[in-house]
Structure formats: structure tokens, C-alpha cells
């Protein structure tokens, strides 16, 4: 751990929250460096909480979470041993906006620039995605979105603001869908979370345009431990999109978000993620929703890149006739492991759930589907349908499927189907006969494989997803 900064030194002197506010120029001015240093201990957590001017209850929450994180073992008894390679002592847990490593467009690697061009991303957006834009620009973009939806009474802000300005709503739902101790990484996030969105949609309000975290996550840069909480009140509807479809060249090694969704009676939430992390990122995310009576939650999740992704979006179907859906696409290339899946916990009568998962393993990539469907005692009319299809492109690629389906009682029905196959040689031959190269043919076949799912994405995401797949498939054959 590096020597404490002036601010850190000051932070240890405050008898209440660890900060002596009379000392030092500590005014949360973004021109200042807020850096918790490397490694994680109680001081790190106190530092983050104090920088964010948090209430004592949230500091308590963070400190308890830290204890839970430290006490929990790595889940390597069922998951990959690669998790053991995460060095928690070398991670920077909080780096404020002003302190992020400076980047200019010139610093962006050529291949990334070319990728942006080939993805058809406009010049301005490219620079933005490259992290050149200062965070103020980002806040401005963010505010615009907020104004439009604010007219409908929708609250859309970051989680720090949510905590500060809407505690009556925030506190009621925060940490309720995903308890701190749910898993080691939800505990870690609870201890050091920073950034993420807070959305509240009032009863009956249908938000016309999707709310996007496309800009903000980049602006806050390392959003490694973002915390998102979305509440759709009775009869409301909202679509939320996060991530970006461009390849990230983040130097982060660990991204561990927690996303909680609450769909109250008759509400609908659609949560769309398209992520393409750099190959050194451990992407360990906990995402779960609670769907009340007649509510509907749909997760659309696309995972490309990262060294290891572990993400299993889930829905707790708490009210009668609630509906949950997970649609996911994963592409694992050389050196990557996409360990993704879905959880459907039925907790009321006549609830239905659907899981459709498609994965593509290229080169020495490995994709894994891990699922859980749970229908407890004495429920009736519950149905689940799960389909998993895996496509293997090269002889060294690998895929695994590990679903767990528990059904009690005779008034419910579940079905699970999974298949593993390769791209048909006849299909490739046919396309090559018509003038496509083998790589083009393969790319077209892979896009065809995911086409029915990609169509469910908003158009611009769908187009970029297809282009990303084209890029990933280059050099994957022959």
C-alpha cells in the first residue's frame, strides 16, 4: 500500500467519521484527488463513506459488509479456480473522477481506434468512450436525460445522490433484493460501492425512451463497484440500458457491481446490458430483481470480453402472475471464460419464467451456463422454460452447462433443453460457394445463431453487437 495522502492522513483523525474537516483542503472539490490507495481495510471503507458525506447508517452498512466479505471464502468449491488469482491487496477501491489516469485520444491504442471506426461510432462518441471527456461533460449529458424524465416525476440519478436526496425511497429498497451476505462479491460491493444508478418510476408512469448509463459509467470511469437500484412503482414501465458496445481498454482488474430491481404490482422493467470488457477484467456481478403481482422483469444480457465473467441475473417472482425472463448471449474468445446464467425463484402461484441462453466459444474460449429454477411447495400454475444453446467454433473451445431445477408439487411444470453443436460445414461450404471467405461465412453463421435474440435488443445495440461479433470472429477460423 502506498503512503497515505494528506487527505488519508486527515481522514484518520476524525472521531466520528474518520475525517478532520478542519484540516486540509477537503471540500469534495473534484479538482482534488480522492484516492483510497491500494488494498482494502476499514480505513478504505471509512474514507469512501466520508468522501461521499454519507449518513452513519450507510457507513455501518459498509463496515458490516466488509466483515462479511472478509469472512466469506472464495466460491471456488463450485466455480472456477481462476478466482483465486484476484489479488485484493493490489486493487484501488476508490479513485475519484479527478484522479483518474489522464488519457487523450492520442493515447488510445490504434487497434481500439480502428475498432471504433469499424463499429461506426461517431467521432465525438469515440472520444467519449475513450475516456477523454472530462466528467463535467458527462454530468451534462446525464442531466439532460434526467430533465426529460424528471417531468414525469421519474428520479434518475447516481446512487450517492439517491442516498442523499431520496433516502425515504432509497433506504426502503436498498440491500433488500440482494442482501449483503448473498455472496462474497455482493459483500465486497456493499463495502466499497460507488457510482451506479438510482431510478424511481412513479405509479403508472411509462418512460418512453430507455434510460441509459452509457455515458455515466465512462464518466465515473472506474465504475468497478457500481450499485444500481431501480424501483418501478405500480403499473409503471421503464427500460434501462447500461454498458457500451465498444471494446473497453480499461486497466481495471475487478468489476463487481450489484444491481437490484424492484417491479411493484403490474410494473415492467427491462434491463439491457451489452458489455465488452478488456481481457484482464474479472467481471463479477450480482443482479437480481423482485417482481410483484402481475409485474414483469426482463434481463437482456450480452457478455463479450473480460477474463472471467460470473453473472447470473435472477428474478424472484414474488407476486401472483409475475413474469421473469432472462435472455443472454455470451461470446468467449481466447483466454476468456464466460460463466453466466440465470436464476428464477418462483414464490407465488401462476408465475412464469423464461430463460434463453446462447453462447459462442471461439479459439480457446470457454462458456458456461449455470442456472437455477426453484419452485417451492404448494404453489400452482408455475411454469419455467429454459433453453441453452452453445456453439463451438474451434476444436479447443469449450462449453459447460450446469442447471439446477427444483420443483415441488404436481401443479407446476418446468422444462429445460440444452444443446451443443458446431457450425454446419455444409452451411459454410454453401456460403463460400457464393463468394464469401471462410471467416465471413463463419461470422454470418454465428450472427444467424444469435439473430433471434439480437432482434430483441434496441436497434443500435443490435447493430453494434453484430459488428462486434464480426470483429471477434476475425481470425478465428482457418
Amino acid at each position: 500500500m502506498k503512503p497515505p495522502t494528506e487527505i488519508e492522513a486527515a481522514a484518520t483523525e476524525n472521531p466520528v467519521v474518520g475525517i478532520d474537516q478542519t484540516k486540509g483542503d477537503f471540500q469534495y472539490n473534484v479538482d482534488y484527488a480522492f484516492d483510497a490507495g491500494t488494498g482494502l481495510n476499514e480505513d478504505t471503507v471509512r474514507y469512501i463513506s466520508s468522501v461521499k458525506k454519507e449518513e452513519p447508517w450507510i457507513l455501518d452498512f459498509r463496515l458490516k459488509a466488509l466483515q462479511t466479505f472478509l469472512a466469506k471464502p472464495m466460491p471456488t468449491h463450485w466455480a472456477t479456480k481462476d478466482l483465486e488469482n484476484i489479488n485484493f491487496d493490489k486493487i484501488r477501491y476508490y479513485l475519484s473522477q479527478g484522479q483518474k489516469p489522464k488519457r487523450t485520444w492520442d493515447e488510445v491504442p490504434d487497434d481500439i481506434k480502428k475498432t471504433f471506426e469499424r463499429l461506426g461510432i461517431p467521432e465525438q462518441e469515440r472520444k467519449f468512450l475513450a475516456g477523454v471527456e472530462a466528467q463535467f461533460d458527462s454530468e451534462a449529458a446525464y442531466s439532460n436525460i434526467k430533465d426529460i424524465v424528471a417531468k414525469q416525476g421519474v428520479i434518475f440519478c447516481n446512487s450517492t445522490e439517491g442516498l442523499r436526496e431520496h433516502p425515504e425511497i432509497f433506504r426502503k429498497f436498498f440491500g433488500k433484493v440482494i442482501p449483503t451476505g448473498d455472496n462474497k462479491f455482493s459483500a465486497l460491493n456493499s463495502a466499497v460501492f460507488s457510482g451506479g444508478s438510482f431510478i424511481y418510476v412513479p405509479p403508472g408512469v411509462k418512460v418512453a425512451q430507455p434510460l441509459q448509463a452509457y455515458f455515466r459509467i465512462n464518466a465515473e470511469n472506474f465504475g468497478q463497484f457500481e450499485r444500481t437500484l431501480i424501483i418501478a412503482d405500480e403499473g409503471s414501465e421503464v427500460v434501462y440500458m447500461e454498458g457500451c458496445t465498444a471494446p473497453k481498454f480499461s486497466t481495471s482488474t475487478l468489476h463487481s457491481a450489484v444491481v437490484e430491481l424492484v417491479a411493484l404490482k403490474g410494473a415492467k422493467i427491462q434491463y439491457i446490458t451489452v458489455q465488452n470488457w478488456a481481457n484482464n477484467v474479472f467481471n463479477l456481478v450480482t443482479k437480481r430483481a423482485v417482481a410483484h403481482e402481475d409485474a414483469e422483469v426482463k434481463w437482456i444480457d450480452c457478455n463479450i470480453g473480460s477474463r472471467l465473467t460470473m453473472k447470473y441475473p435472477g428474478v424472484v417472482l414474488k407476486g401472483k402472475r409475475a413474469r421473469g425472463e432472462v435472455i443472454s448471449i455470451a461470446l468467449a474468445n481466447d483466454g476468456q471464460h464466460q460463466d453466466t446464467g440465470a436464476k428464477m425463484i418462483h414464490a407465488a402461484d401462476d408465475t412464469t419464467s423464461v430463460v434463453v441462453s446462447k453462447s459462442i466459444s471461439v479459439g480457446q474460449g470457454r462458456s458456461t451456463y449455470r442456472g437455477q429454477v426453484h419452485i417451492p411447495k404448494h404453489l400452482k400454475g408455475c411454469k419455467n422454460n429454459t433453453e441453452c444453446d452453445a456453439l463451438l467454433i474451434n476444436t479447443n473451445s469449450r462449453t459447460d452447462t450446469y442447471p439446477a431445477i427444483s420443483v415441488r408439487g404436481d401443479k407446476n411444470a418446468t422444462q429445460h433443453e440444452a444443446s451443443v453443436s458446431k457450425v454446419s460445414e455444409d452451411m459454410i461450404f454453401y456460403m463460400q460457394q457464393r463468394g464469401l471467405t471462410e471467416a465471413q461465412a463463419m461470422s454470418l453463421a454465428v450472427n444467424g445463431f444469435i439473430n433471434d435474440l439480437a432482434r430483441q435488443f434496441p436497434m443500435e445495440y443490435s447493430v453494434e453487437l453484430k459488428r462486434l461479433i464480426d470483429l471477434e470472429m476475425e481470425g478465428s477460423v482457418g
Binding site: 442447471p403 439446477a404 427444483s406 415441488r408 418446468t414 433443453e417 440444452a418 453443436s421
Partner: protein
Amino acid sequence: MSAVSAPPSVVGSFTREAFQAHLARVAHLPAWWLARKQAAYARFAAAPMPKRTDEGWRFSSFATLTLDGFSFPASSVKPAALALPAAASLAFVNNRIVHQDPLPAALAQRGVIFDTLQNALLKHGDLVKTHLLAQPSKLGSDKFAALHEAFLEDGAFVHVPKGVELSEVLAVHHQADGDGAAVFPHTLVVAEDNAKVTVADFFKSDAKTQFACGGNDLYAGHGAAVTYVAMQDWSRDTLSFQFNATVAKRDAKVLSLNLHAGARQARHESFSQLSAPGAHSEMLALTVAHGTQEFDQRTLQIHQAPNTGSNLLYKNALLDQAKTIFSGLIVVDPDAQKTDAYQSNRNLMLSDEAEAHSLPGLEIQANDVRCTHGATSARIDREQEFYLEARGIKPAQAQELLVFGFFEEVLGKIENEALHDSLTAIIRQKFTS
């Protein structure tokens, strides 16, 4: 920091004294076998009991089991009569041979061996040594597999030489008698190249609390065909473990069917190794679970060579508060291109309190394969039930008929009529008892 001590193992009735007494009973057997047993006992004693948090024991209630109160009583009962016409049969009560219908002379002359394991150990030691418990336990029950090897006293040995085909069944009866009796049945089937054989195991008991820890090894040489049917109908208070290891060589075909009817709690582990091109394994199981019975089934299909096939179909009918667990895995090694593997678990829910868990898994490392799996849990089609009842069939009978309809997909694969009838009789008895 103090050293973390290993969790205590549970030895229960199977103490070192009990093991020494067992060794004394089999002291006349070859030294290599006794040495293996010693090693197995050490593994058993050292291994901790499984926990529900162990991935291989997920959803299982075995964490609460106890190994206390079991013994090796002598018995003078005669084995239950069986209507199955067989070429030859062996009958064991409490691990000891009590009756033998020897092979017809014509088969014996062609070199077929069907004898007790003890006799085989003495007369055909090399053959037994090559195949008996040759596969390590891979499905979580190392402790109990070691217990089986340590206390295995006698069983059946089948050896069919190259090119010899048997049309009739070889039958083996294992019976447990007396409260607390512990039995360790084992059947070893070795079918040499291009041989063909059908072997049926019957497990039966009528006393209350018993412990059964059995196993079978099936070896099918090049082009061989092995059919193995195990009918498990232990008493309703029996704690049962049954381990299967199948090895199929080039172009061999193995069909194994396990009927699970008895026991309070039963764990069945089945492992098929497709080790040469053209090998095929058909893994079938039928379970009728009622009362508070728990059936825990764990399977593994390993494809190690190109052009191999496996097909697993496990069907469970669940009544009352019964519980089933199916956890299966298809593993395709990197070199096993052109593998065709299927795995299916179907649960028919016949009660609002029954509980079914399915964990069908795939681990695929070759790309030119066709691997699929499916799992379903649902109740009987109400319209079919209504149709039968509208024709005057009572609800209980209608249910039974529909269960047989559900099971027919598996039963239909048993060509031997007598075996088919035996299976049907045990299933029917579950509905009438």
C-alpha cells in the same frame, strides 16, 4: 494460529474391530485382495462424511445419515423365489452364497464363467484383479465406495469369452435378512470381444432397518454387448448405496437399467466410460418414489474417443412426500470428436408434496459433437386422466396406467420378456402396497 483439525469421520458400526472380523471371514482370499481391502478401509475411516454443501451432495438429505446400528448377522432363510427363467442363478443372503443353479454344461464348456466372486478370486484371480473396482469413484461417494470395497464379502462374477453369445439371462439374488443387517453386494461382468450377455441383479429384503452398499462393474470388450438390469427393492427402512462403473471398448454396446423401488434413502451413482471409437452406452433408470423415500441419482458419461455415443434416460414417478435428485454430467474430452450424447431426466409429479431436483450438466471440450440434454417436471395430463376415468377406470388405476405409459419408453428397451415382466411386477406392487 492454531491448526485446523480435520472434521471427524463417521465410522459408526463399521469400526476397525468389525473390519478385522470381516477380514477373518475372507482370510482365505488372495493377499493382493486383502491388501486392497486394508487400504480401502483406511480411506473410508479417514474420509469425512459428505455435507450438503458439497457440490456432489447438493439437495441430498444424506448429511443426516448415521452408520450406527448395523451388523453382519448369519441367516438361515431361503432366498425369495423368483419367476424369472434364467440360464443360471446365484442367491446370496447377508453376503453369503445360499443357493446356486449352475450354468448349463454347454455354456460352461464354451468357457463361460458364472460363479461367486470368492471362487473367482481363487480360481481366476488375474481376471478379477483387472476389472474388479478398477474405476475410481468419481461422483462424490469416495467414502462409501471405500466402505464397499473394504467390506465386500461375496458377489457374482460373470465372464463370457470372445465371441460367445448368451441368449438367456444370468440372475443374481441378493437378500438382506434381519434388523440391522449390512450387505455389500457386487456383480462383476466381463464380456470379452464380441461376446453377448444379459445379467439381472435382484435386491430384496423384508426386515426393517438395513444397510446396503453395493456395486457393479460392467466391462464390454470390442464389439461386445452387455445388458445389465438391477431391480432394487430393499425394505422401506433400508439405507442404500449402489455404485456402477461401465467401460465400453470399440463398438461395444452396454445397456444398463436400474429400477429403484425400495429403500428409505437410496443413492445411485452410475459412471460410463466410452473409451474407444464406436462404443455406446445406454443408461436407463426408473424410479417409483412414494411415502418419504428419497432417491439420489448421480451419473457421469465420459466420452474419451471419437465417434462414441451415450444415451441416458432417467424417469421418476413421484408420489406422496417423496423426493428425487438427478444430477448428471456428460463430459466430452478434446479428442472425442463426433460424439453423440444425450441425457434426459423426466419427473412425473403425482402429489402436491413431492419434490424433484434436476441437475443435468454438460462439459464439452470437442467442437464437432452433438450433445443435448433435457429435464422436465410436470404432472399427468389431466385430459388423459379424465379420458380413462370417463371409461370407468378408478382414479388410482388410471394413475397407475398413466405411470406405465410414462415408463414404457424405458421398459420398451428391454427385449427379454421375462425381465420386462419382473420389472413390471415390482412397479405394480408399489401401487398396490
